[in-house]
């Protein structure tokens, strides 16, 4: 899969304040890439550099082989963008805004635009200032999708959308992926990324701390398995097994084992005794994500990122 977004050693600071530091990643064409991080981590800074709203201090950012700053106009022809905090002319109606942006893009497929309006059930007759947060988000999402861009760059796109419209959005991202278009979306809603993305980058304190497929991220997750035995079993039987981080003896017949990586050794060891029940707590991506922000060093160690 050829890379359509290429970011290499990208850095940006705001005077003495940190922005992003040496961020490097690629996004393949047709990929749905999730960019995760807590507030202030550098997600929006990275996106604004991609959209040529900010100029990088160092490094390069390219979309479709074009430099994001030098060739920004060329890039914007095939990019759709949703900002984190949409602000538009409050005195225009939703319909006027969409018509205006359709014209600024040199015209769009009107049938498709109307289908998007129907899909989000947007009332286009109301002024932007009269819209609720969710409806404002719909207007901005429609303008990003309406010209069927090759690349979609979406900064926290579902913020403020209700579950039904989030579902609609998920469908649109899925269709974009099926059509071979690329989606780069930032989020701190992990279930959203888990549902829609194929690969994830995690940014913290301006640095990219992890870059992996969603499935790969689950490889570094921490399991907790609670095993109840029919007879007393010494917890030492599990303590030195591969992948075991911690063993907690609940009573003389029950243990809780925390595992990093494969659970194979623990399952095989447990099988030597009569097992009454075995409960595994499988962490969500959220747990994986949160671990990165617990202690930086541990996270890097686990992720294998220097």
């Amino acid at each position: 899969m050829a890379a359509i977004i290429e970011v290499e050693k990208l850095s940006k600071s705001y005077g003495s304040k940190r922005g992003i530091i040496d961020v490097t990643f690629d996004v393949g064409e047709g990929e749905v890439f999730g960019f995760l991080g807590p507030n202030g981590a550098g997600k929006t800074t990275t996106i604004r550099i991609l959209m040529a709203l900010l100029r990088a201090d160092g490094g390069t950012a390219r979309i479709g082989g074009l430099d994001c700053w030098e060739k920004s106009v060329g890039i914007k022809k095939f990019v759709g963008y949703v900002p984190g905090e949409p602000a538009l002319d409050n005195n225009l109606t939703g319909g006027q805004i969409l018509e205006y942006f359709a014209n600024l893009r040199g015209g769009v497929d009107r049938a498709y635009l109307k289908s998007l309006i129907d899909r989000f059930d947007l009332d286009t007759s109301r002024k932007f200032r009269q819209y609720s947060t969710g409806n404002k988000r719909k207007v901005v999402l429609i303008q990003a999708f309406m010209h069927r861009p090759r690349v979609l760059i979406l900064d926290e796109p579902t913020s403020g959308l209700d579950p039904l419209n989030q579902q609609e959005f998920d469908g649109m991202v899925d269709e974009a992926r099926q059509e071979g278009r690329t989606v780069f979306l930032s989020s701190h809603v992990l279930s959203e990324v888990e549902k829609t993305c194929t690969r994830v980058g995690i940014i913290r304190d301006g640095r990219l701390v992890r870059l992996a497929g969603v499935a790969e991220l689950k490889d570094i997750k921490r399991y907790e398995i609670t095993i109840h035995f029919a007879q007393p079993v010494a917890s030492d039987a599990f303590a030195r097994l591969d992948g075991v981080i911690k063993v907690e003896e609940l009573d003389d017949r029950s243990v809780r084992v925390a595992i990093q990586g494969s659970a194979d050794a623990v399952i095989k060891a447990a099988a030597r005794y009569p097992v009454v029940s075995l409960t595994s707590y499988e962490p969500s991506l959220e747990d994986v994500f949160l671990r990165y922000y617990e202690t930086d060093d541990q996270a890097k160690e686990a992720a294998g990122v220097a």
Partner: protein
């Protein structure tokens, strides 16, 4: 310290405005004191000055115009009402504006009553006005002391208090009106229009005999009842108390409405709501709307309504001056027959000096036109800076159009607007001259009206350039300061015998006196070149800067 309460925090937000408006308006009242000192050296000159002032009583009451305090009060006249612009903007912003942006939601979530929040915020505005008034009063006193005025510190402070009271009235009107509007700009616009209407109503009794009763309807009438800088005239305690009462009544009414209505909603007027059709949900797109076709068309549509009102004001002023020139000059001619008058010098600085008084008068009045056009440009630069600061251009800048194109489209729309203002002013003045039978050189009239266009563009270009670095408030403040500075440089500077090199720093120097002497193309080129360079630099800066909302 200043973040300990809503009142102190709001007052802290106004600290720049307090200093800026206080010092600015203070210097405005002091500046005529500087020129009048030279004009009243002899008793004859003093008498002539007082007589001339009578001819301009339509603008302000000429009370003791032969004294430093009286002349300053008269000369500034209605222009002191400029200070009312601040409270009408601040009062419309403090509740309605913060509701629109959602800031007030957070404040209202604190364990404080709505009444407490509203009272603290409004009290901060009135405190700020009192502080501005105090600064104006102190500067007036210092000016009076410097130029041998007849008034003391208490008189100066009373002048500031009187000014603060009339400004508070307009702030209270704005606060009250904003309870009925969804947008703060609507409330500010309505109050601005009322300010102009009240100024006009106050003028009526000075022009038409036996119409005092009508002028009583204007709060400005009660402001003018006090002239603290003329100790022999003194103050009207009743007038000041009436303004205070008006402020209190409107403020209490506004706060009462605010605490009862939904946050973010406007108070419904039952009769008015009958005429507003219920919006019907629609999924249609306005495909034939010309204003949505391009960046330029959208920019033009944005500037259209303000252009209409400013054109009306500027062209109306030009035409009105042409219509009244005969009557004014006839009175002046009788007064000045045979004398090498001091009065002529007053308006010669502005009018440019000429053999005929009608030409000088008309030229002087037309010199105000480019100032108004430049003020219009300042308002539009403010809008551009605000759009950038508030991120309204962000999505536009992610469409395939270079940043420079976005900036130039806005500038082109503003340029179109200034051209429209110039042409309509030319046509209006020419039509007024034909109807009133006033002889005006057509070429010079065209030079005076169309020649102001480059000045408007210069102001816009400088503003766009400054917006490359400054936030909205700072940019607008800088431009307003420049405009006021240029005005005083050109029209007060000659009286103070400032060197030619200094006077050349003002664009009005290059505009010259086109109604008398036609267009000076060399000077025009200077303005155009400076504007073009400023615009080019603004474009370069805008193309390269980080856009952080």
């Amino acid at each position: 310290m200043l973040l300990r309460s809503i009142y102190l925090k709001t007052l802290r937000d106004y600290r720049v405005a307090i200093a800026g408006w206080g010092i600015g308006m203070g210097l405005t009242i002091v500046s005529p004191m500087a020129s009048v000192a030279a004009l009243i050296k002899t008793p004859e000159a003093r008498a002539q000055l007082a007589s001339l002032a009578q001819q301009f009583k339509w603008a302000a009451d000429p009370v003791a115009a032969g004294t430093v305090g009286g002349y300053a009060t008269f000369k500034i006249g209605i222009f002191i009402m400029l200070m009312a612009v601040w409270p009408l903007l601040a009062a419309s912003r403090t509740l309605r504006g913060e509701e629109s942006t959602g800031v007030l939601d957070i404040l209202l979530s604190l364990p404080r009553t709505r009444l407490s929040v509203a009272v603290q915020k409004v009290a901060a505005i009135w405190t700020a006005l009192l502080l501005m008034g105090a600064i104006v009063g102190l500067l007036a006193y210092v000016g009076g002391a410097k130029f041998k005025g007849e008034f003391g510190l208490v008189d100066g402070l009373l002048f500031g208090l009187n000014l603060a009271l009339i400004c508070a009235v307009f702030g209270a009107i704005s606060l009250f009106v904003s309870q009925f509007t969804q947008e703060r700009t609507t409330a500010a616009g309505v109050t601005g229009a009322l300010l102009i209407v009240f100024i006009a109503i106050d003028m009526v009794h000075r022009v038409i005999p036996n119409t005092d009763w009508f002028s009583h309807l204007s709060p400005i009438y009660y402001y003018n009842l006090s002239k603290p800088l003329v100790p022999s005239f003194g103050i009207s305690v009743g007038g000041m108390l009436l303004m205070l009462a008006l402020t209190l009544v409107l403020t209490v009414a506004a706060i009462a409405l605010f605490v009862r209505r939904d946050a973010g909603a406007a108070v419904r007027i039952p009769i008015a709501s009958r005429f507003v059709p219920e919006p019907v949900a629609s999924k249609a797109l306005p495909e034939r709307d010309w204003s949505l076709g391009s960046l330029y068309a959208r920019s033009l549509a944005t500037v259209a309504m303000p252009t209409f009102w400013w054109t009306l004001g500027i062209a109306g002023w030009g035409a009105w001056m042409v219509v009244i020139v005969k009557q004014v000059v006839s009175a002046l001619t009788k007064l000045l027959s045979g004398s090498a008058s001091a009065e002529l010098r007053i308006i010669q600085n502005i009018g440019g000096g000429a053999a005929r008084l009608d030409q000088v008068f008309l030229s002087a009045m037309f010199e105000l036109l480019p100032i108004l056009l430049m003020a219009f440009a300042v308002t539009q630069v403010n809008r551009w800076a605000a759009d950038n600061d508030e991120g309204r251009l962000e999505i536009i800048l992610t469409t395939p159009h270079p940043r420079v194109e976005v900036l130039l489209a806005r500038f082109a729309a503003l340029a179109t607007a200034t051209i429209v203002v110039g042409i309509v002013t030319l046509l209006g003045s020419a039509a007024a001259a034909a109807i009133a039978g006033v002889s005006v050189d057509e070429g010079n009239l065209a030079a005076a009206t169309l020649g102001m266009i480059p000045l408007g563009l210069l102001m816009a270009a400088v503003g766009y350039l400054a917006a490359g670095w400054l936030r909205t408030a700072a940019d607008t403040g800088l431009l307003s300061f420049l405009l006021a500075g240029w005005f005083f440089l050109s029209f007060i500077g000659p009286d103070l015998k400032w060197p030619d090199m200094t006077l050349r720093l003002s664009p009005f120097y290059y505009y010259g006196t086109p109604l008398l002497h036609g267009v000076d193309f060399a000077n025009l080129v200077v303005i155009v070149v400076v504007a073009a360079v400023s615009l080019a630099l603004a474009s370069v800066r805008y193309a390269r800067k980080d856009l952080t909302a």
